[in-house]
Symmetry: C2
């Protein structure tokens, strides 16, 4: 599977707009999550080495390492999401003319749906962590770049929400409703808690300019 994050930004946007099966909404969300996290990380970069922020410098260095890792993980999830989508796409095309074929297709589909859910669920988890890091960068980072913390967190929030649709579209087709509801519960819990936490940061940043 091609790693679409190796493409130039314009080429990524072009292939996203095409009818190519991947990247899609999951991969786009993962990339936007990485872009959002990078903005929080940038505020850290602008804070390190500044006398005014010497007392938080050690904290910022730790936060920046965590942000670097999250960016990497989210960028890797662009490829992981694409890899999980292709078998699902193939499974939709399996024949279902006989009872045996129907049963086989149902079984393959169920496993492919689980696999296709795993990547966007992971994207959601990473976006929640990215929102937590933004809380830290907002509290400790340089005030001159405070708007970038606000932009970063609202991008991570949208990546969280975007990835959730790719979870829900897959759980909706699952036959094992107990498993599906378990995944939905986790996704809804993340959405509820972390969109609210992102809104607190964004609203606080926006209020400083009014």
């Amino acid at each position: 599977m091609e790693d679409h994050t190796a493409l130039g930004c314009r080429d990524f946007v072009d292939i996203l707009a095409s009818k190519a099966p991947v990247p899609g909404g999951g991969g786009a969300s993962a990339l936007v999550g990485a872009i959002g996290m990078a903005l929080g990380n940038m505020v850290g970069s602008l804070t390190v080495g500044k006398a005014k922020y010497a007392d938080v410098q050690d904290d910022i260095i730790v936060l920046k390492k965590q942000a670097d890792s999250l960016q990497d993980e989210l960028l890797n999830l662009v490829r992981i999401d694409a890899e999980a989508f292709e078998p699902l796409s193939a499974a939709y095309g399996l024949p279902k003319d006989t009872e045996e074929e129907k049963a086989h297709k149902a079984e393959v589909m169920e496993q492919c749906l689980r696999d296709a859910c795993a990547a966007p669920l992971d994207i959601m988890r990473r976006c929640c962590e990215a929102i937590e890091l933004h809380e830290q960068f907002a509290a400790k980072g340089t005030a001159i770049a405070i708007s970038d913390v606000g932009v970063g967190v609202v991008l991570c929030k949208s990546a969280l929400q975007g990835a959730s649709l790719n979870v829900f579209i897959n759980t909706a087709s699952m036959l094992d409703r107990r498993y599906a509801e378990q995944i939905n519960t986790e996704a809804n819990r993340m959405l509820e808690e972390y969109t609210a936490r992102a809104d607190v940061i964004f609203t606080d940043v926006a209020a400083r300019f009014n």
Copy 2:
């Protein structure tokens, strides 16, 4: 000025996370707006040529052309935003030891702030247009890719909100309050109307999976 959209996605994220003055929150918002628009456009790409959607095919082809243009304009705004930021960054460093220097710096700053506002304001306008196109793709596009319309619109919404912070941080420093309030009024009007319109699409898409 380097065009950062020519960079690979990973390199863009890396330079965004660094203390390099550009790209920043404005450029990141423009790129995310383009990514969001590309998802709506993808739904169009998956609709064209499908017998079931033959009666809307001509509309979809027109919408796709508009989406192509918006993607281009938003990607170009990454560079335009960077070009407008550098003079502002330099103006902050002008001396203000004498009354003459103070007056000169104030005058240069005021013009640089206007220029630095123009790009994020344009990013906001393009994101509003992108949200309008998503309304059309949601209404006319293939149902099999409906989740991607939801992801696309929530990414465009966050790009709109992110760019607004880069408008407000600049208008907040303007001495000409009448001009500043005029810009703020336009930005607030766009935020109010188009975040609500984006929410309608996102909520509608999410509801289909519950």
